[in-house]
Symmetry: C2
């Protein structure tokens, strides 16, 4: 009999509320024969304030035993900027080698976009997750003086770039339009840019059916608001991916519906799924948060674990729910979760 | 009697055409008593192909003698990516210490935006121009092998950050709304992020009337499409500034109307003014390019040299011209230039 052993990290702020709904929908969608086990972990600001810990070796050992991880949101204004990001979120991505950060953008019918007209948006960004300017390489000298120098080192390896580029080509190959865009800034960041571009061009030879293009990151932000239909699959560096996926989320319905996966494709470590939005402390605890991005992250999680039909049922339920929202009064977090749970079960 | 000794670099592609119109409007707007001298330089792809040179020491010595520089566009698909960018554009910015890269974004009446509704957009980005990931620090080992490692080093100094932050505060102080946003990614790029944030907070104490906020670069891209009216002055790092100013241009009428200045505020070296758009080889030589961004760059140039009234006349002429475009047939590059020249003279 099948089973899913899930680590659940609700985290801070609205993380708690949205994860509860994600689990509700997950339970509702799973067939009877699949045994769902969940274990909750208390990472985030509360644990940090209480113990000074963000993520210990013992924590990593415990998390390793799960099939996948569902995360709500980590972050709190009471914690200095960078502590939870570097100490928990990035530490986990690096420890579990989450090198494929998958962020789909699809503007669903009935969903508002800040763009004029009726843009067709349906693409997925494959963001590298373990290299680039995110490695924490760099440092500071003469800190706090007028002679301070601070550096950040973007580290890019052929190994790291090739595996994520291959992943993106395979995804593009599997989609009807079969298009892949590399986004970088190879005219300025020439060392990293040449590495990315050369590997991209080399791997392209193995995927003759995939149409490729290269675009500078600055130009990409223009296309994302003027011609978002242009994109099918995008592969890009860690930092550029961070930036353009927030923009992509904004134009395709907002971060309220943007899901993401931090994936270790070979399955050496559990992959982690989370909404793109943060902990939104201003609305936490009020039942106002939209759990849709978390529910869509559950769909990505199911797809990753091989439950394609169940993932598709969630996607359809979300589409239907969103398309019926216009003109109706706002629902609470749990009302939306209930409605989605009913739909996926039905 | 007054005089302007201008270096003119038409450059590649549409650069030639748009610069001609910029000069036309400049001549038309200047009072009789101002003597305008111009000297044209042939930098760009043609010179590179003919001689292999991009910008020599002798060129820099020649350019130094001018009061300011007007540039059209540099870039050609026949030149490997990075050669003209690093060898000319960035070399010049670094050699002439153009540390304030000024990029205003204003959505003028009658101008189309990809955003829905009627957004109010009127802000200016102060982008650092001589540090960050643009210094060319970094390198490659084991090039072309499966063990290649390429690094890019973002270099940030207290000296470099403080001067551009001060410039931005002074600009915010001089504007009616007196708002300044720092955009960075200080939760991930903690070395550089702390330097920027600490200096920003320190300088803020000297400008008590300026309202400040901090925003991560990813979140900033969301606000730029959902709440662009939120921004008044933005100060940011070289790379983030590159990215968000293209997005800013896209939402506020497109890069056809986006002007920029590469400024050395102390006047040790001539400042350079240029449209944000590139050389657009696909439409070059056809009289299809819109010279408006170049004409607005001429206004920035005049303002920088102290010709405020003339700069304002150009801004007004452009506003008037843009507001009367809707429904009219497209005009050629020189027809738009002629119309603007008539308006500023009138
Ligand atoms: C919180 C931060 C570390 C993170 C990132 O920059 O990757 C977030 O912005 C994201 O995109 O998941
Ligand atoms: C062409 C390139 C070097 C340049 C930059 O990245 O600064 C351009 O994109 C710009 O914004 O002026």
């Amino acid at each position: 009999s099948r089973s899913i052993n899930l680590a659940v990290i609700p985290g801070d702020g609205i993380g708690q509320e949205v994860v509860a709904e994600g689990l509700k929908v997950l339970s509702a969608v799973l067939p009877q024969d699949v045994k769902l086990e969940t274990k909750e972990y208390d990472f985030g600001a509360k644990r940090y304030h209480a113990t000074g810990e963000t993520l210990t070796d013992a924590d990593l050992d415990a998390l390793k035993k799960h099939d996948a991880i569902l995360l709500g949101a980590i972050g709190d204004p009471g914690v200095p900027s960078g502590v939870l990001e570097r100490g928990f979120l990035l530490k986990l991505r690096f420890a579990f080698d989450h090198h494929v950060n998958l962020r789909p953008s699809k503007l669903l019918p009935g969903v508002a976009t800040p763009l004029a007209g009726e843009p067709q948006i349906d693409f997925v960004v494959v963001r590298e997750g373990t290299e680039g300017p995110y490695t924490g390489n760099g440092g500071t000298i003469r800190k706090g003086t007028e002679h301070e120098v601070a550096t950040e080192v973007s580290v890019n390896t052929a190994f790291g770039v090739e595996r994520v580029v291959r992943d993106a080509f395979a995804r593009a190959q599997a989609r009807p339009r079969k298009k892949l865009a590399l986004i970088h800034k190879n005219n300025v960041l020439t060392f990293a840019g040449h590495l990315w571009t050369n590997i991209f061009n080399k791997v392209a030879e193995e995927f003759p059916e995939v149409t490729t293009e290269y675009m500078h990151v600055d130009a990409a932000t223009i296309y994302l608001v003027t011609q978002p239909e242009r994109f099918d699959v995008i592969v890009t560096d860690n930092l550029f991916g961070d930036i353009i996926t927030d923009l992509a989320a904004a134009v395709s319905g907002g971060i309220g519906v943007a899901a993401s996966g931090n994936i270790n494709p070979a399955g050496e470590f559990p992959s982690m799924f989370e909404p793109v939005h943060g902990s939104a402390p201003d609305i936490a605890g009020q039942g106002k948060a939209d759990p849709t991005a978390t529910v869509l992250s559950v769909a990505l999680l199911l797809r990753h674990l091989g439950y394609e039909a169940e993932a598709a049922r969630i996607d359809e339920a979300v589409s239907a729910d969103l398309s019926e929202r216009t003109g109706k009064p706002a629902r609470s977090t749990s009302e939306i979760g209930d409605a989605l749970a009913v739909r996926v079960a039905g």
